[in-house]
Amino acid sequence: MLEKINNLVEKVCLTVGFLLLSLFIVVVLAKVVVRNYLHIPMMWADEVAVICFIWTVFLGAAVAVRHKMHYTVDLAPNKIKVNLSFDILAHLIVLTLIYVMIVHGYSFMLMGFSRFSTALTIPLAYTFAAIPVSGLFMLFFTVEQFVKDIKKLRSLTKKEVFEK
């Protein structure tokens, strides 16, 4: 069930991210051309690029949680069972940052309704929203990983017992 939901969430993250990254590339390229050859100011271009950039970073970081891609220091690469137990603990610890991202990210987003971007004059809340949204997705993905790792640890332990 959770896995199905998460497949969908991941797909949404990647598709939206792909669109934003494409827009980002086009805007930056367009700005170079327009500034150098057409001499028209594109004051809003940087701001659009930053909004796209920040959203893609947080969406990407959420997807990376699902695939355990965030860099971890590997002190004992061969101790699979120990590492798995630590990973399960780490998932729980990670929830503190995720909690702050969701709850306080949300109140920061609300603060963002009274802070406006210079050129586009839109509230920065729309950019800030990337943080709680990403936090929410990270929550889904972390719970999924937590369940998976526990199952893995169980099957490892069973195997050991069986082998003995």
């Binding site: 990647l14 991210g17 792909f18 990254l21 494409s22 980002f24 590339i25 930056v28 390229l29 700005k31 170079v32 150098n36 940087d46 690029a49 930053v50 950039f53 920040i54 893609t56 970073v57 947080f58 969406l59 990407g60 970081a61 997807v63 990376a64 695939h67 891609m69 965030h70 860099y71 971890t72 220091v73 590997d74 002190l75 690469p77 590492n83 630590f86 990973d87 603990l89 780490a90 610890i93 990670v94 503190t96 940052l97 702050v100 991202m101 709850v103 306080h104 990210g105 109140s107 920061f108 603060m111 950019t127 800030f128 943080i131």
Partner: protein, 427 residues
């Protein structure tokens, strides 16, 4: 307890129990913020501020460029070209390894991407030709760090953006040490090849050389577009990177190694790739802010000046300090967190900001091949299927050469700085 001590202890404990570095940065800051009774929303404000920076917009482009290099068969062309140039020297494959990394470094801004692109091809090939496995992994990992030393470099982009130092000047300052380090590594390779009688390739014919050179030329133009464009001031770092991506895309459609339908997958992969360092940068933003908030720069400055007040002495202590933190943090995180301390010390020692910047980047690049957290070392050992300890034993002599070159740069600033001062003669 001093909140700074609390911050660092919690961080290290979290890292050792396998909490991902980015989260450990954030969570140790959260613990300190609870201890100091500050509002949590500050955490979010500083996460946001950490990556709200126009200059960081160059990072996706430099990583995308790396991705294009891998997918587009460009690596293959560059390997051919390198073989023609250095393959005939004793220890040919290892020389190719260093040489191709040097060229790739001029195309990509990251070192991990280089290890991931070259490693799977060359490490198995070297092992097959009876090179020592430790040496194979070591030379691959070490030569990959050229990726962030020779421009363009994501690390220098971040340093320049945060320290308000010209990115163009930092890029230019990386060229001489990059080439010196590459030569140092090839010298060491030659010594090892002699000692263990490693094989070489037959010398290429003129015809072979011309063909492979012709095939490589369009790619070799890329570094010139990037570095030329930035140092001539035609574009900002971000724009140069964008143009290079555009050029590479056109090139690849032309080579027919990339189709439009491959683009979504490539962009999605790139997004997740750059979100990793950028999310870490965002989280490092909180810790960096706490360090400023708790007056750490002044404390460290007082401590250091109580040991020595000589400019060189301070500089050497900075190098030592960076060497230590570089083993636990990635270069980007180290820069974000400790930059206020570095610039404070740089002011006291009256160091040229570009000089401080380039030495900082070089020392932090060393941390990419040292345990426990050297990203290039980790990737290379996984490919070579050996333990980090074994790889590190082979890395030590190579790293020593690099450190020697860095120290020469500390004492003779002009060696690294004459290029930026010549081509971008400001300040």
């Amino acid at each position: 307890m001093n909140p700074l001590v609390l911050l660092l202890i919690v961080f290290f404990v979290l890292v050792f129990i396998r909490v991902p570095i980015a989260f450990a940065l954030g969570i140790s800051s959260i613990v300190t913020i609870i201890y100091l009774d500050l509002p949590f929303t500050s955490v979010i404000n500083q996460i946001y501020t950490g990556i709200d920076n126009f200059t960081l917009l160059a990072v996706p482009f430099f990583l995308l460029l790396g991705g294009l290099m891998n997918d587009g068969g460009i690596t293959e062309r560059l390997l051919q070209f390198s073989r023609v140039i250095v393959g005939h020297i004793r220890g040919g494959l290892a020389h190719i390894n260093v040489f191709v990394s040097m060229i790739m470094a001029g195309l990509s801004g990251s070192a991990a991407a280089d290890t991931a692109a070259i490693g799977p091809v060359l490490i198995p090939a070297m092992k097959k030709e009876k090179y020592d496995a430790g040496f194979s992994v070591a030379i691959t990992a070490c030569s990959s760090t050229l990726g962030v030393i020779i421009p363009p470099s994501i690390m220098m982009v971040v340093y320049g953006a945060m320290a308000q130092v010209s990115i163009g000047k930092l890029f230019l300052a990386g060229i001489v040490p990059g080439i010196l380090i590459a030569f140092g590594q090839m010298g060491y390779t030659y010594y090892m090849a002699r000692k263990y009688d490693y094989p070489s390739y037959p010398k290429a014919t003129v015809k072979e050389a011309t063909i492979s050179f012709g095939k490589a030329i369009p790619t070799l133009l890329l570094p010139i577009i990037i570095i030329g464009g930035i140092s001539a001031g035609m574009f900002t770092a971000t724009e140069a990177a964008a143009i290079a991506v555009f050029y590479a895309l056109v090139l690849m459609f032309f080579y027919r190694t990339l189709k439009v339908k491959d683009l979504p997958k490539l962009l999605k992969n790139t997004m997740v790739q750059y979100s990793l360092p950028m999310f870490a940068v965002a989280c490092a933003g909180i810790m960096g802010w706490l360090i400023g908030y708790l007056h750490a720069p002044e404390l460290v400055a007082n401590f250091i000046t109580s040991i020595t007040t000589s400019s060189t002495g301070i500089f050497l202590l900075i190098v030592l300090f960076l060497l230590i933190i570089g083993t636990f943090l990635s270069p980007l995180e180290a820069i974000i967190i400790f930059l206020p301390i570095l610039t404070k010390l740089g002011e006291i020692a009256a160091l040229d900001p570009v000089h401080l910047g380039i030495i900082t980047c070089l020392v932090l690049a060393c941390g990419m091949v040292t345990p426990p957290y050297g990203i290039c070392l980790l990737i290379a050992t996984q490919i070579g299927k050996i333990s980090t300890v074994r790889a590190f034993i082979s890395i030590v002599p190579i790293l020593t050469i690099t450190l020697g070159i860095i120290l020469i740069g500390v004492f003779f600033p002009d060696l690294f700085l004459f290029l930026p001062n010549l081509l971008m003669p400001d300040a």
